[in-house]
Symmetry: C2
Subunit: 496 residues, 2 copies
């Protein structure tokens, strides 16, 4: 199916409509927004098999994966519905007036979070459902009370169009302001750039390449009025394999990592692209076992030709670097849209000399860095860029001896994992899918979990407001029964 790129007048109209819709949508209570988000989930499910088939056709993802991604998408819509229905997410704070304070009386002051405005969301290539049209960015922005303008990813424009139709149905069903959700196509950069530069756009959510994310970040910061961009971009998710554990569990660890590297043809932002270990006989055994698994992995069709081409190019580049050698590679299926699982290795010395080796190879690829000793392993950690995740495979007593490594890794990543793999991102309040640059453009926020809503809100304080004029969340009688910090105490009580 072909979709026409949005023209500049269409983009202008979309943002203006999103702006007008925002001015009424922002005032809807949590119950209404919750209904809308639940209706979106229901309507996505009502698309039934046609959505699954379209997504499979456009992305070559297997049915089980698309079905599970749909579950994740409807799941986060309902999770955000629940969050805003309950209402305490607005982080209400109340400090009572002290009319008799000397030298000057203290006014009544109350504060809560309010939405930023229209948010531009870019569909992600690697998650046609969970990080695209009704993905985490859209769901969290709508939950916050923002209107949303989605720029569909051209690689799965049909899937995006179907999901957009579901959202439009949900809008009508639940009586949402017209224009609160906008959906545009654009194969080139122009549409996205025009959206980010539009004066009425107030924030941006993006998941994709470092080049793309940084370009949008720069564009947004160069505006007369800069706006926040949360771009989730590039991470190689180092896994540190500690020696005692490797000696004991090389086989179990090899199976765990082989599965994580090759899952979904390696097309996850949390793919473990780097393994770091001390070079010894145990590591040899580990690599041998890992290689056996890698070799027998059937080559998988990648999401689109561009991603496949990039994988082949970046892999060839890596292989051409000094000291890099192939440890194991799956058979070439003779189809240039397929990605062969590949594990290569290099010495720590060569790795440290060559910044290119620290760049992401998006696909079922991992680089094993062989360290002379534990000191070199620590040095490797110190030299890492910002990451979404860092993992340690080690015995509990062994990790106790690596406290300085743990201390250091906290500065390098948004999520630390012990004896597990980075793939598999739970959608829960304690999730942090973010991290220092270049994994994201702002390490203070997450793209997954309930806190993703914080990217799209700002506090507003209300001073000396009569009760009648306060937002419900801040009224004395607490009609929404939300949790509030009143004069230093968290409570659901009324203001006395």
């Amino acid at each position: 199916m072909e979709f026409k790129d949005a023209t500049l007048p269409e983009i202008e109209a979309a943002v203006r409509e999103a702006h007008v819709a925002f001015l009424s949508y922002k005032n809807l209570n949590g119950k209404k927004k919750g209904e809308f988000l639940r209706a979106i989930a229901d309507e996505i499910e009502a698309l039934g098999n046609s959505l699954i088939q379209t997504a499979m056709q456009e992305t070559n993802l297997p049915e089980a994966r698309v079905v599970s991604e749909r579950g994740r998408t409807t799941g986060h819509c309902r999770m955000f519905a629940q969050l805003v229905e309950e209402g305490s997410w607005v982080d209400a704070r109340i400090d009572s007036a002290q009319p008799h304070r000397v030298p000057a009386p203290r006014p009544d002051l109350r504060k809560m979070l309010v939405p930023l405005g229209p948010v531009v969301v870019f569909g992600a290539a690697n998650f046609p459902l969970a990080y695209s049209t009704a993905g985490g960015d859209t769901a969290s922005a709508l939950a916050a009370g923002c209107s949303v303008i989605v720029k569909a990813h051209p690689a799965h424009a049909g899937t995006s169009e179907l999901v957009a139709s579901a959202i439009r149905k949900a809008m009508i069903q639940t009586g949402m302001p017209q224009g609160v959700f906008q959906h545009l196509h654009g194969a080139g950069f122009e549409a996205g750039q025009a959206l980010v530069k539009h004066p009425l756009a107030k924030a941006v959510g993006f998941t994709g390449s470092l080049t793309g994310g940084r370009a949008l970040f720069d564009l947004a910061n160069q505006r007369p009025e800069p706006i926040p961009v949360f771009a989730e971009m590039s991470s190689i998710n180092p896994v540190y394999l500690l020696p005692e554990s490797l000696a004991k569990n090389f086989e179990k660890t090899a199976l765990l990592l082989a599965n994580s590297v090759t899952q979904g043809v390696g097309q996850f932002c949390t793919n473990p692209g780097l393994m770091i270990a001390v070079d010894n006989d145990d590591l040899k055994k580990y690599i041998k076992r890992l290689g056996e698994e890698i070799i027998k992995t059937p080559a998988g069709t990648m999401l689109h030709q561009g991603i496949a081409n990039n994988y082949h190019k970046r892999m060839a580049e890596s292989l051409a670097q000094k000291g890099v050698s192939i440890e194991a590679q799956a058979t070439d299926a003779g189809n240039n849209r397929q990605g062969r699982a590949t594990v290569v290795s290099v010495s720590a010395k060569d790795f440290l000399k060559n910044p290119l080796l620290a760049e992401e190879v998006f696909g079922p690829f991992s680089l094993i860095v062989k360290c002379a000793d534990v000191n070199e392993l620590n040095l490797l950690a110190a030299r890492q860029h910002g990451q979404l995740t860092s993992s340690i495979i080690g015995e509990e007593a062994e990790i106790e001896k690596f406290q300085s490594l743990l201390n250091l890794l906290r500065e390098k990543a948004g999520r630390l994992i012990i004896n597990g793999v980075p793939t598999g991102v739970e959608v829960v309040p304690s999730q942090n899918h973010g991290g220092p640059y270049p994994s994201t453009t702002d390490s203070r926020f997450t793209a997954v979990g309930t806190d993703a809503i914080k990217r799209f809100v700002r506090p507003v304080a209300f001073q000396n407001f009569p009760n009648s004029l306060l937002p419900s969340e801040l009224k004395n009688e607490n009609p929404l029964n939300v949790f509030r910090l009143i004069d230093g105490n968290w409570t659901r009580d009324q203001v006395k």
Copy 2:
């Protein structure tokens, strides 16, 4: 007193030391950080009269103001001490493992806020104590667990040096890591630019001009690794005078506003630089009464010659604009470092045609915009830039009829005030001293109140960690007794 500008090698050494100090300081518990912050407050008080005299001499602020600013400074140091001693600010979240979940088990996931790293703080011209060396930026960054590098404001370098000596004493007394606080001088731009560009600097706090703040913001965003800048810059704090209230209370309102405009020679970021009202006889009476107060205000000596020169230049520029006329002006004291209180007026039509009139005139100056009717008043509101505050003076029943104005102003400001003035910023949890651009560079954060700490922290998730390796705030037994979101419920309970 003369202070030598920091050289590039001195800047390099300061940031490196701050980085090394950070790596141990970040792990100190809240009790230790609290001791440090309380010792800073004590040592500032121990400076006694020499601090007050130095600040008065350097800034020409009157004694009462400097004493009260010292109280605010020691007050926020102790407020942040209390915040970190209690500990719940880390926003701990715990989602328990579900080992038997199908199709895949759910891992144990826990999250909390951790400090960003070394923070560069720029002393503010207009707050030699409360927004300079031990100001809100420094106190909140230290509370977060960040090390701090202060670039002293050259206009009160001696005051800054004294406060720095107090902080150094507090460091030694409480056994803080050497280098956790660094203090540099720099009269030109070079030192500040070098600090913001340094790869080991991880965030910036700034209070000052739009030009200065935007330059630092741009510089930080152009780094290979961009870092967050919270710059509080430019706000004219519109006050909307509604007609019914003005008819009834013109005298009371005039006294209130005259005091707010002239307080501290108008050198507050919350100075009410714009008053907007419907042009009628009541407004004339208001302006007359306001003028009587303005004229009798003694001209005050401004903070430094640069600010005074800028005030005279910007005032002359405003007066030269089409349609602008002087309503009242205090006597010229014949000293070019003094600022004469001045109120001018313009029609809404002329105001709307001339963007220069919406720019800040830093000093005891306010522009009254006369609207033909309520529609024009609403239009004026719609055209405002982002502000720290917006105020409405109106009868409660009257404001009910201006719901759309209230709705609109929420998009324009970080704090809304009813029947009060923007000056006077309470340091409480419900404070929001921030707002849409150009009032700050990121409307999602505040520079005042306990939430100021959020500018300098980021979440880290800990997946599948053995209890022994978790930070104290996340351990099962909750040794610090902090509030945590455990499986969806806020509680101080242990994890069962």
